[in-house]
Symmetry: none
Subunit: 454 residues, 2 copies
């Protein structure tokens, strides 16, 4: 049967790309309140797609964007996987750096360009296509499959946890499958067994009640931008090591097998550097680049503002300044604890000439998935069949906070089977997804369903 399913998927490659284009045309930007209607249309499109595939589907309202749920339970009491994805996307800004329209996908050199191509519309669609092919060929699925597609992943999955808790029974499963990560590199498939956690904050610094003339008042009142810069400088050292007291207390060292696995991965530092466009690599001493990416915590400013940003010169002491900062966390750091340490440190270093406020924005725990389970082994085999090579076991610097929720609420591990590439430019202009990866990912999903069905 699997051969027929695979054959069907091979034959419908072009149709699959058209389906992806349809999905990418929805500007489902969850951060933009103007896009509520587009979000609703995207959800409706996905539910219709599930129905068409042969699943029972529903669009479930939440306090924010709807969650699309679908299921096909052909084997009462049998093995069940829950496939998670997100249909919302990052804002497309800065718009003028896109070479094509962010919401009018185009194919070029075997890649599809558009916001959400890789993160996560292109990846989630592979599973829907695999399920559709299975049902079309076999009249049923060899295992029970549930889908949960949310519309708020890019705004911290605000309403997903409550939904999971409210629907614990409906969502019960043996494992969660998520394709929202990447391969290690082109031709090097991977399973991600570890993710970083996150704690995200906004710092606001206020000085004078209005912008003041920097000549008339300079040297007598604190400048909020200077203060903010100094505070940020105190957060980490020249090599990126975080200076917040207690920050490293709970950091778990890498196991020996992990160091070996990481070292076995063909990784070209210069190629990596070139991909980023940075003039040199950077980071904490004593760790390889891969170790820093995957297993060392970080502190980054994600945005900063204050005072005059226009053309020419304006000689003011700005009334206020602000920054968005985030820390990526590793096992066993706790985002709440680190967030607290951050707040305390800010208080400690805030000078008296300004008012400083911290707004805690979001957080998520780091994750480590057991690699010695049958689920993990079958996922490895499915990927090997589809991609022609056994996947590397890797970690990711990113966060998928909901994996932690799945563990806590549903009591199951998440298999992170990512079809993307590091240079897919997710969250950046000209986001893209390799159509070869799109296809192989679809095959891998079909193989996995087959293998799990025995």
């Amino acid at each position: 049967m699997i051969d027929k399913v695979i054959g069907r998927l091979e034959e419908s490659r072009e149709e699959a790309v058209e389906r992806l284009k349809e999905l990418l045309r929805f500007p489902s930007v969850s951060a933009d309140p103007e896009r509520k209607e587009d979000i609703a249309k995207t959800a409706a499109w996905l539910a219709a797609g599930m129905e068409r595939a042969g699943l029972a589907a529903e669009v479930d309202a939440t306090d924010g964007n709807p969650i699309v749920y679908g299921e096909r339970l052909d084997h009462p009491g049998g093995a069940t996987i829950l496939i998670y994805g997100h249909y919302d996307v990052q804002p497309p800004d800065p718009l003028d750096e896109w070479e094509s329209e962010p919401f009018e996908p185009v194919v070029k050199d075997g890649k599809i360009f558009g916001r959400g191509a890789s993160d996560d519309k292109g990846q989630l669609l592979t599973h829907l296509l695999a399920v559709e092919a299975w049902i079309a060929e076999a009249g049923e699925l060899p295992i029970n499959v549930k889908f949960i597609l949310e519309g708020e992943e890019e705004v911290s999955s605000v309403n997903l946890p409550a939904y999971l808790r409210a629907n614990r029974e409906k969502l019960s499963c043996d494992a969660v499958v998520v394709s929202d990560t990447g391969q290690f590199a082109p031709g090097m498939p991977a399973i991600t067994y570890g993710l970083k956690g996150l704690t995200y904050h906004e710092i606001r610094v206020e000085g004078p009640s209005a912008d003041l003339h920097s000549g008339s008042f300079g040297g007598t009142i604190a400048n909020p931008v200077n203060v903010l810069s100094r505070m940020i400088a105190k957060m980490r050292d020249e090599d990126g090591r975080v200076l917040i007291p207690g920050f490293y207390d709970d950091v778990a060292d890498l196991a020996d097998w992990e160091k070996k696995e990481f070292a076995s991965i063909p990784f070209d530092e210069e190629e990596y550097r070139e991909m980023t466009g940075s003039p040199a690599l950077f980071g904490e001493k004593g760790y390889t680049t891969i170790e820093r990416r995957w297993a060392r915590p970080t502190f980054d400013v994600n945005g900063i503002w204050g005072g005059y940003q226009g053309d020419g010169a304006k000689t003011i002491i700005p009334a206020r300044a602000g920054a968005k900062v985030s820390m990526r966390l590793v096992p066993n750091q706790d985002p709440e604890k680190i967030g607290r340490l951050f707040n305390e440190f800010v208080k400690q270093i805030a000078p008296e000439g300004v008012r400083v406020e911290v707004i805690d924005m979001s957080g998520g725990k780091p994750l480590l998935v057991s690699t010695d389970t049958p689920w993990f082994e079958k996922a490895s085999s499915a990927i090997e069949k589809a991609f022609g090579r056994r996947p590397f076991l890797i970690r990711e610097g990113g966060s998928i906070p909901i994996t932690q929720e799945f563990k806590e609420v549903l009591g199951v591990d998440t298999l992170l089977l990512g079809w993307g590439q590091n240079d897919d430019r997710i969250h950046s202009p000209n986001e893209r997804f390799d159509l070869g990866d799109f296809h192989k990912g679809t095959l891998a999903s079909a193989y996995l369903i087959g293998l799990l069905g025995g």
Copy 2:
């Protein structure tokens, strides 16, 4: 004779206010290209006023707005002052914050409200009224007087330097008189004998070629905002002392008489702090607040930007960051030299993980006028006679670049005799000028002409 002149001015106070109202009704906004005609009308009105007073006047075209020149040279080879003022005004925005029409002056509580009331129409008119009274009473002036009134001061006096150079002979004089500054406070007249200089730069920091996911790339490439913050933090210490090597090398210490003069000024720190709205005053240790304001160089960030500035959380390593920074300079710092030191320091502290560029934007030399000249002494006496109190000798944290031009091109010092107040709201809605100050300023100008004439 001076008594007659003063008597005449006392008697014509109301008429003087009407003349000021006429002048304030012209919306001579130099930043607004729609106001070219109003600018021309203002210049014509001023030339006519000079002719009426008894001067020879001309409206001299420039590449921008015209310069009104007038002269009365009754004493060939005798002492000559050049009175400078500007008839253009700041834009009146935000209009909805004005309590009366910006170009329909009204008098309330002894103050006249309207754009340009204090900056600089009300102040420049005092000199024209004084000259008119002198000629009316005496048939001539006791010294030679030249006027130069420009229409582009609020747009950086773009065409004035070329005009000065082209008319060096015509404008030759023994001293320039400018009333475009303020008294120290109500009832506390002042002569400003020192101004700060300026050097203004933009720093641009570039890292990756696009915004990158802070999870996937964190810990491996330098973050331009973190780098920029660290560089700014290295520019000055916790108390605002600048850390650029060589920055203080040429700073002239305050003379003992200056320290005493500054200390003699009734200055309420708490009142000043409250006016700024800052929670605490700030600045270099070892200096009083007035000393820091007027006589110590500063380093301020005027604006900063980089990465995500919108609502919510975006987890990126920004591709670039930038800041506008400026240093206020004191005698004998040279803006070109300090700009060079700044550039060198930036190069020195720029880490290898980013590309850093400095754009030099503008600069101006600091100014110190000799206070022990007969010109200065006579200006003090004139103010004492008019205001009933000897003027405080003060400095200003701001810059008036044309004073430097007068020094370089005409080879003379500028006497900054300001009749305004700090709370005249220049450049803001509801600009105003105290009519008592307007009148006393006119008397002071008349006294000065008399004293200079022996």
